[in-house]
Symmetry: C3
Subunit: 681 residues, 3 copies
């Protein structure tokens, strides 16, 4: 069945290319030159109005849209589209002065002074009124403007406010969640250390000089911060939905930023977008950096079920706030840009178009440098991306629906990070990445989802360290396996419920029956300490000894079959890997944190046994991945070489390289940092 | 002369075994199961009521003792005793809301919010009134209850409050100490940097944004914090003394926690107790960890002159707040538990009985795991300890009166840590430990005392780094040596008086005559830098070269004999170790910080020369110690193997191993982590 | 032309020797003993009254000068001079209590409590009134006193205050600087992140909980702090100038303390002075430590155009606040003291005369130890310095006028440190030191100046990392080169103007024409990463390969000649060093941060080509330097051996060693840490 999403901007049915554009920082003389340079760079989409509130409303109730009218018109005249931002990311100074309540309070309950950005109270009625007013004016003015294509809400929402208004809202949120103080006291286990609340007014947000040890409170506070930010977002978009019902709305996220559970926003976004600033050319290999980026890309593709997303920000060269700001090496800019497209982005956008002349990001990479002309290495790299994207019209709107799902769960991360023991360094993100890497290297697409999504369309579900089982998760995993699915989970799974209360039925709690094991204890290893495990003969063809580290669950097989055992320490001989056959499926439990060789040998053999196909038939060279986009009929395979050496890749017959327009032989040669976009006929 | 202390709980004349028990966190259905499991685990003593205030007084003046009545009755019915706590370790939320003065202020003078624990102002009249009221009610209600055996006051007192009430109390404390501002100004040397106070109201507690450089103030503030905490403790116990005059009272200490000078509490405690959470199986060897634990045990045994003490808290397995929470390896739980008994504890108690289901310590080791049944490795380890303790009735009430005393002085640590120079890292704790280790390894008992205790019953007194000489100390050391005692002291001793004012008579100040040396300067060495010293022919048989590090005093022998000299640097040839013969005794001065080989060669030869006997006649294998308890006639020798290998120990004739009930041959074989309790006939 | 400055204290036309003297901390019995000891130590100059306010004015308006009268008389009687301090470094406690406004507010806007030192608001009218009053009384009382020689204003000014008075003063300062908010908004590029100010009242000082990202604000705040401190200083000296117009005034600086741009004070000082506490005998070689000290000495000599300066504080032995407080090794005290004299100091003074008995600096080295007598190693070292200085009367008032100037610019450091990118660790101080070291080792005098000084009298001007070009700098560099001067500059130069706004004309901005290059980008290297460069045949005789690290500018030669190229990475073959011939001079650009071998080979060959002479003709042994003082006719060469080994130095004919009074042979032998002062006849 053929399916292709509509282009994001119907007037511009191409890959979008551009970035944050702040003409309000520059004199009008520069604006025509900007348009000339955009054409040279192959740019067709500009994000405007971000942080422009002080320019749009220089004094309370006095608006100046003239400059933005001009810019919008110029963009339209240049066949470019506008990604128009609401300006709430930073308030004008007059507003902070007139209404201090719009400023945040810190965890120490001291109100911030005006300054920086993202420093607003999302509960403040005044701030909500002011944002609603200016958002409405923007929507009214530009609803019919030909340049307007996408709404960009605020910028990188984040942080929290601890003002009295927010604390009051938190109490209301808790009342709605728990109904009674008794229920709250039970969920938070407040009898520990005499924390029992006897009046709602006693509940306060976590504080360094107050409560910090009630994990249920910490967890609910994080949930509240997400929900209150989402509520503010909904408040921001209300006038836009009313006045421009057909325009897509997004807000730009920050990878796996832990402050907000982005999954809660998905239903209120038309398209997801994120800002990506990896540390290329750093201490770790570029391939390893690329694995991490790909995993996050696969979160954003999965968020809306495969719908193309937007790479909203990236740098054309250096990222000025890194400890060591490396220049992007030749080739890396095209490679990194197409990596996003490979995983489903229909845009490549930058922060920013023209380097700001002053302030904190003046050295951040931009398309146009301070010198102002196009004769720079970076401009040329950007123009190369523009030219490449122009050849990818056929890819616009395509998607990918993987057989494999990997769980990365924000709330699980929150709970585990806050927990004391079994190690203070839990390494959740790394553990998930360890399960992602083999698929990346093999060229097998993966969706990265949170635990409360639907599993039914996957064949292999991997849930590393799923410490917290939210309601329904265990039941749906059971159903998934019974229906023939394969589940893999690990040590430190099935420990607590959604309130961070330990299961009393033996770990892994409600998964005990499904996995057929009892996890009695968990041993923690010091940095550098290791353990080994030995696979049995019938375990996916594995042989020899594999190394474990960090965390080793001590388990008993109940109904499960033992596939590997520990080899050292006092639990030598105990089960280390098990499988349980339930219904038509199987459930694996890996008790220790394993080395990468195990992850690869185990998971790829499992995928092979399940008949899960690779995007390209052969073995990919180390550091090269292949990623798929398709409309259900035609396939587009992005082959990306993250090594500095040339690589030979077997691709089989029938491919055309869209970047060159030439038909391919069965062996593709990629230069160091080389990329090809193969299209089936 | 035979002497044996009475059992702590006359109704239960056995080793006590149990731990913190919080039935108030669990439904009554669980309570009978708890009793069944206590019997299985050999537990006979439970600490109840800790942090139970919110349950005992759910609203101001409304009390609920019913649940505690039930628990006390069940304990009595099960032949177990209750260690009953006063609940002051944490206040109910209603109290913080109604009386904010009960909350502490931080050093920044900001009042804390409600939360955490140990967050009360110990000066607050309201808090004192509330604690007195509930303590009186507890005493009235349970005075005659058969289960009640020991009072457990609050929990782990600690921290400080900087509220106006506390600052006012501090000023009163200072008036009482100094009488006049002139005396205070002189003692604090306030003429430095124009700090002279001209009105009492100008004196403020140390603050990060205020005074921090007046060392006399810092020191007196720490003394005040101890005294005010002690005053609060006395206030807590007043109704208990009145209503239950025959019951022993304790409060649980935290090793060498620097915030309180525990020695000041001794006169008001009937029995001392402490909470012990070593990092077994960590980066350092278990034997080294054990040395540190033993030294602290020997502080607590010495505190009340050899009276048996209580191990009030320990973990049956992992300690959840350590960076890496290792499981206790098989054997370690019994070994570590009997280590406490070896040094004089008549109890082995845990935090806690049943793992809490939520909040910050939910992963801390406990006898009963979340799974709730007895079929766990940890439960079995605990039951093994229960069985072992049941064989040690004869040891109950015995003591040990060593010939060797080692000074570890809280106020000396305070003063030295605050001082700038000669190195910012002083290493006092490690320096004391360096002097303790040889005796531990040789199986020679040691009392670890502070400097203001009586020395007369010892034969060897060791005072490393006794920077601060409090009043009378020098005089008593002089008397001790004149009477035939042997004193060993070191670099950085005799520098300041009790006000942290330097002696003006040449270091080591009032010890100059006793030691017969003048310490002109002290050199500091960087990490990794070393110096060597060469012993003379007549120095305890030492030969070759020994290594020094960190701190090297430059001294001149006045009346002392030089026993060793420096070998390198500009002070090569200068005295490094001296002895001075005074009256019937000798006073040694060791000028540099020495390596462990020197500590062992020197101190053990000294002990041998003084005829100080080892507990067992032979050389103990590395990592094995032997510790003595006795009633003056019968000897009980605990032989503890902190290595993972089996060890052979020569013990001579006439011993029975109480743990097995079998007579021993002259060579004892201990498994890795093995332990034996030898009893003479 | 012969020129010699007048002695600082005409009544005492010798090198001054002494230190901070606080008789107010000691009973009068000690004062005569102090005088006896001063004579023994060869001390003739004492700094009195520092931090004495509480003693001089024990209650508001009640003064006690009696003790100071006595001390001044005794000094005069002993033929010593007084360096008399104003007491503003610390307020009496009564003042803080009566007038809280005299206390500082921190960046968090919380007012400090009384305590520490240097904790006053320099804007407070009350504090200004109080300092003016006591300063006037001191001047009135001692104007004619024979002992009074130099005014010592306050002590080590530093820090900042964020109180409302200071913020108001800051706004006035900004109004004066910018005239209009429009100009301020433009200079600070406030359009970034909507920071546009629309009312002066919106401008606040930087705050951790407020504005921190506007670099122009941060920079101007630092400028304001300097200017406001200078204004306070001017306020302090007003009564002194009026009453003692002929007495020199100084205030003691702290090396390259970054909080104040000391160059701004120069016009208001009669003599500069600084406090020097190097870490001798530490992890780095003493020679390397000495290079750093010499460079700072050369700042202070250059500040007033070669006028002799004062070493106001140094330690006779250990510095008690260092992590590891090493004793000065034999010889080091004389060597380090004469190092200051070698670079133009006419004093050697200590903190302090007599060790304070208590408080935070009681272990800091002092001439007289707690033991109180003269029979100490340190006293003897000090007396040796006294004897040496007594032989240097001929050196008093001499100077040195180098051909080489090296720029170290405080405001450049501020701007660069605050900038994000290209690395967060910029290494400015080290980069300047790297350019200083070759001259030190070769015995070539160097002036170290800031960028806004006159360059015309130099032949070689070196400006490493001159990121910020303040007004006129580029123009004066151009004129300097056109007139025949040689300029050397490096990577990361010519990036921003005085407002931290990037030049829009291509880096190095206004230096682009002078240097004949365009710097398109700058690459940052991780710690441990390296690059190499290859010199061309005609580059100062350099050959082989040199190593680069940290920062590598990517440049294009426009009119410049390429002298070396990069050898690796994607910019291999690109220019790495260039020279541009302009008028009668040359301008070099070194694109990467180079290793020390390059610095030495390049700069010393350049100096040789320019005919810049070494102080001594031959090659100096490693770790030995030679520094010149002269009256224009007679030369005094200080030869300083910072190694522990004896060294042989070729000095040519005609020298007398002033320290021994003996004529020298052509080869000088210096012991380890040896020093000679050679005088031409």
């Amino acid at each position: 069945m053929s399916h292709r999403y509509l282009p994001l901007a119907p007037r511009c049915p191409h890959m979008l290319h551009g970035g944050d554009y702040n003409p309000d920082q520059w004199p009008p003389e520069v604006w025509d030159e900007d348009m000339r340079l955009m054409n040279l760079a192959g740019c067709n989409a500009m994000s405007v109005g971000i942080f422009a509130w002080a320019r749009l409303e220089p004094a309370e109730g006095q608006y100046d849209f003239g400059w933005l009218d001009t810019i919008m018109d110029k963009l339209a005249d240049n066949n470019a589209v506008a990604v128009l931002a609401t300006p709430s990311g930073a308030r004008p100074a007059w507003m902070s002065a007139a209404y201090p309540e719009v400023l945040r309070c810190g965890p120490n309950r001291v109100r911030n002074l005006h300054g920086a950005r993202h420093n607003h109270c999302y509960t403040s009625p005044v701030y909500r009124q002011k944002t609603a007013a200016i958002n409405r004016l923007l929507a009214e003015r530009y609803a019919k403007h030909p340049a307007l294509a996408v709404w960009h809400i605020s910028n990188e929402y984040g942080g929290a406010c601890y003002c009295p208004l927010c604390e009051a809202a938190f109490r209301e949120w808790l009342k709605a969640r728990y109904g009674s103080l008794d229920a709250l006291n039970a969920a938070w286990w407040t009898s520990f250390w005499a924390h029992t609340y006897t009046d709602w007014s006693q509940v306060e947000a976590p504080a360094p000089h107050g409560e910090g040890s009630v994990h249920g409170l910490n967890l609910d506070w994080k949930r509240f911060v997400t929900d209150q930010t989402l509520d503010f977002y909904r408040h921001e978009i209300a006038p836009l939905r009313e006045l421009t019902p057909d325009l897509p709305i997004t807000t730009n996220f920050m990878g796996t930023y832990p402050g907000l559970n982005y999954w809660k926003f998905v239903g209120d976004l038309d398209v997801v977008s994120w800002d990506n600033y990896p540390s290329w050319h750093s201490g770790q290999s570029d391939a390893e950096t690329a694995v991490g980026v790909s995993m996050v890309n696969d979160i954003y593709r999965a968020m809306k079920g495969g719908r193309p997303w937007m790479l909203m920000e990236s740098t054309p060269s250096m990222t000025n706030w890194q400890q060591v700001c490396k220049l992007k090496r030749p080739g890396m800019h095209l490679l990194a840009s197409l990596q996003a497209v490979a995983h489903g982005s229909d845009t490549v956008q930058y922060f920013q178009w023209r380097k700001s002349r002053g302030s904190s990001e003046k050295f951040h990479g931009a398309v146009v440098d301070h010198v102002g002309h196009e004769h720079t290495r970076v401009f040329s790299d950007v123009a190369q991306v523009g030219a490449a994207l122009a050849r990818l019209d056929d890819v616009v709107g395509t998607t990918c629906l993987p057989d494999v799902a990997l769980i990365y769960d924000w709330e699980n991360e929150w709970a585990m990070a806050d927990a004391q023991g079994p190690r203070q360094q839990k390494g959740y993100h790394g553990a998930v990445l360890d399960h992602y890497r083999p698929f990346w290297q093999a060229g097998i697409p993966v969706d990265v989802i949170d635990s409360v999504q639907d599993y039914s369309r996957y064949r292999l579900l991997i849930a590393p360290m799923l410490y917290m089982l939210r309601p329904g998760v265990a039941e749906r995993m059971q159903a998934f396996v019974e229906a023939g699915g394969t589940l893999v989970t690990t040590y430190h799974s099935g420990i607590v419920n959604e309130s961070d209360l330990c299961f009393l039925t033996g770990w892994p709690g409600p998964l005990r029956g499904l996995l057929g094991i009892w996890n009695e204890e968990i041993d923690a290893l010091y940095e550098g300490q290791t353990q080994t495990i030995a696979p049995s003969n019938d375990f996916c063809g594995l042989s020899g000894s594999y190394q474990a580290r960090d965390l080793c669950a001590l388990i008993w097989a109940e109904t499960a079959q033992v596939l590997a055992t520990y080899e050292t320490d006092f639990y030598a001989g105990n089960p280390a890997v098990t499988v349980n056959h339930i219904g038509a499926g199987r459930a694996y439990y890996v008790a220790p944190r394993m080395d990468q060789r195990f992850q690869s040998d185990f998971l790829l053999q499992l995928a092979a046994d399940l008949g899960i196909e690779r995007v390209l038939p052969g073995q990919l060279p180390d550091g090269v991945t292949a990623q798929l986009r398709t409309d259900g009929e035609r396939e587009f395979v992005f082959v990306l070489n993250f090594t500095t050496e040339a690589q030979r890749v077997e691709i089989g017959e029938g491919w055309t390289n869209l970047l060159t327009g030439e038909a391919c032989s069965t062996a593709l040669r990629l230069d160091g940092y080389g990329v090809a976009v193969l299209a089936s006929s």
